[in-house]
């Protein structure tokens, strides 16, 4: 065969096409705002988780009547609240708790949503119809009301139980997104080819179709992370999140409901508010860069 020589003439020294990760990395490096955001995020996360290992949560939340509402000083870097509790310590542990919840909820909703959407979209037809009606049912439930009822019922309330209740009402968006994409993917020739090669439906779904949705999943989950951090803070602010014994960014912000604190003790709530703002903004910046990286037409790098 004459053409065999042409094919074999190609060498392995030619430039490898970049992998998904290197494309994403290049896009983030090119976008300075996203790079700074990423450094800030990694730094904050590392700092918060690292320091909180040496801090005792019970010690920090112990009421100290001799140090109520103190302004920032040598002893209390960010002052104290109305119970004499150190704000800086609360901020560290609170950020850790808020981040943990955000990450847990994002991962759990991600896993449930991806699997659910993939199965629904891949099989299509009646299976899809039934599964999507279940999603519709979850969507019309009054989320806020059920969370409030839950808070009233459950006596002891941890990061895990809070994450689970949030997950139960937040997995539908990603499920619908993945389902619509899976509906398209299953019609493509490569999925059909896998079928003719004797691959089981289950394997096609998770080893053939899923990798083709990876960029969509990465982007959606990053943007969801920002939303979930915000949501936790919002609920805690309204008083339906954690009790004061488990500090989070939301509980710190919640002190600002007291007009006295709002007006005269700014050190209680301003750091938490700024941190929530910065965290959400940073996650979002990184997410936007990821989103551009997955679309060749929008790439800057």
């Amino acid at each position: 065969m004459a053409n065999a020589h042409v094919d074999t003439a190609q060498t392995d020294t030619e430039v490898k096409t970049p992998s998904t990760w290197s494309i994403i990395w290049r896009e983030i490096v090119r976008d300075k705002v996203a790079l700074i955001s990423l450094i800030f995020l990694v730094g904050t996360t590392g700092f918060v988780y690292g320091i909180s290992m040496f801090l005792e949560q019970s010690e920090i939340v112990t009421v100290d009547l001799f140090a109520i509402n103190e302004a920032p000083s040598e002893q209390f870097w960010l002052g104290t609240d109305y119970g004499g509790r150190d704000i800086f310590g609360q901020l560290i542990i609170g950020t850790r708790n808020s981040l943990s919840i955000g990450i847990l909820v994002t991962l759990m909703t991600g896993v449930i949503g991806v699997v659910y959407g993939l199965v629904s979209g891949y099989y299509g037809g009646t299976v899809d119809n039934i599964m999507m009606r279940i999603v519709d049912f979850f969507l019309i439930l009054p989320f806020l009301m059920i969370v409030i009822v839950f808070v009233a019922i459950v006596p002891k309330y941890s990061i895990w139980s809070f994450s689970l209740i949030m997950t139960a009402f937040l997995w539908m968006g990603i499920a619908r997104l993945i389902r619509s994409k899976a509906l398209q993917e299953r019609e493509l020739d490569y999925a059909q080819a896998s079928k003719t090669l004797g691959t089981s439906n289950f394997k096609i779904m998770f080893t053939q179709v899923l990798p083709n949705l990876s960029s969509l999943i990465i982007v959606t989950m990053t943007l969801n992370l920002a939303a979930n951090i915000g949501l936790e803070s919002g609920l805690s602010f309204l008083g339906f999140g954690f009790p004061e014994t488990t500090p989070s960014l939301g509980t710190l912000l919640g002190y600002a409901r007291n007009p006295q604190t709002l007006e005269f003790h700014w050190w209680v709530w301003v750091p938490a508010a700024v941190l929530i703002f910065l965290l959400m903004l940073a996650v979002r910046n990184v997410g936007e860069a990821l989103k551009r990286a997955t679309d060749a037409r929008q790439r800057r790098g």
């Binding site: 096409t17 059909q192 080819a193 896998s194 079928k195 003719t196 004797g198 083709n212």
Partner: protein, 310 residues
């Protein structure tokens, strides 16, 4: 018992509508097709877009639901429950039309070609790698390129990867669904000649689906012509090209381009003649729904869909 026998195959797609989404009609994509293929031969399925030729191929391999009819492969009925036919399906493989979408863009060549091996043969990692390299060599690709991704190959090379995947399990029947129509003409010849080479080498049987009569003439031993889900004519290559009986076949054969410019006048004249005949006798060759009649033998190998009145 033939190698592959298709009896009165029907594939209908329901049209749903109205309140309650009831079935209000059906698209008869394939409507009563019968043919048989002998081992080691190439059978060409020809027809215009929407004539049901691809659907026929996909129904045989099990990608489309068969409404009724029978597909017998080496005496086993493929239309029965899937679990029973699992080991038979190994012997039937498919080459897809579009080499760009039929390879998973996120998989390396090694994973793509090894996919059927992983499903049916228990090989160790090293055996598997050697087998894939052997297959790539067989289709004329560099065995060193197993770690590359599909987009690093040209269209012709990608189609060869598709062929390597199809022959990995040493199948007996390959359904080639317009395997070269997405490739440019110079590459078409390469792939077609290569397909003929491995046919001899591995004693393959092809069901060759195409709309290009030139390619069919080059590749096939027997030919079936489809129109609107039905057969209009079936016969050997000689029957179809030298002695077309149905008006539709005549028109198709007349439309094959001729390179020789000296024949241009003659060719044009012939085409006009056929066109006249086609318009004049259209109603005689097709029933009042515009569909072909039943096939009738006019010789041992040659069947034509002619009306009862003859």
């Amino acid at each position: 018992m033939g190698f592959l026998e298709v009896n009165d195959l029907k594939v209908h797609f329901p049209i749903r509508g109205g309140i309650l989404n009831r079935k209000i009609g059906a698209i008869r994509a394939v409507d009563g097709v019968s043919f048989s293929i002998e081992e080691g031969k190439t059978y060409g399925l020809v027809g215009e877009s929407g004539s049901g030729k691809t659907t026929t191929g996909r129904a045989i391999i099990g990608l489309n639901h068969i409404t009724s009819g029978q597909v017998m492969f080496e005496g086993k009925d493929l239309t029965s429950k899937k679990s029973k036919t699992q080991h038979v399906r190994k012997d039937i493989q498919m080459i897809f039309q579009d080499p760009y979408s039929s390879l998973n863009a996120k998989k390396r060549v090694l994973d793509i070609v090894a996919e059927p091996l992983r499903n049916y043969e228990k090989l160790t990692k090293i055996e598997e790698k050697l087998r894939v390299q052997e297959l790539l060599e067989q289709v004329g690709l560099n065995p060193e390129s197993i770690l590359k991704y599909p987009h690093e190959f040209s269209g012709g090379q990608r189609q060869r990867i598709g062929i390597a995947r199809a022959i990995a399990l040493k199948p007996k029947l390959i359904i080639a669904d317009e395997p070269v129509s997405a490739l440019d003409v110079s590459v078409q010849a390469q792939v077609l000649n290569f397909m003929q080479e491995i046919q001899k080498e591995l004693n393959l049987t092809y069901l060759f689906i195409s709309h290009d009569l030139g390619i069919v003439k080059h590749m096939c031993d027997d030919i079936g012509i489809m129109y609107k889900g039905r057969y209009v004519e079936e016969g050997t290559k000689q029957d179809i090209f030298n002695n077309p009986q149905h008006i539709y076949t005549k028109r198709l054969v007349a439309a094959i381009p001729d390179i020789d410019p000296q024949n241009r006048q003659k060719q044009k004249h012939l085409r006009d003649e056929v066109q006249m005949e086609y318009q004049q006798y259209y109603n005689d060759y097709f029933d009042n729904e515009g569909l072909a009649y039943r096939l009738r033998n006019i010789s041992d190998s040659h069947l034509v869909a002619l009306p009862e009145k003859g």
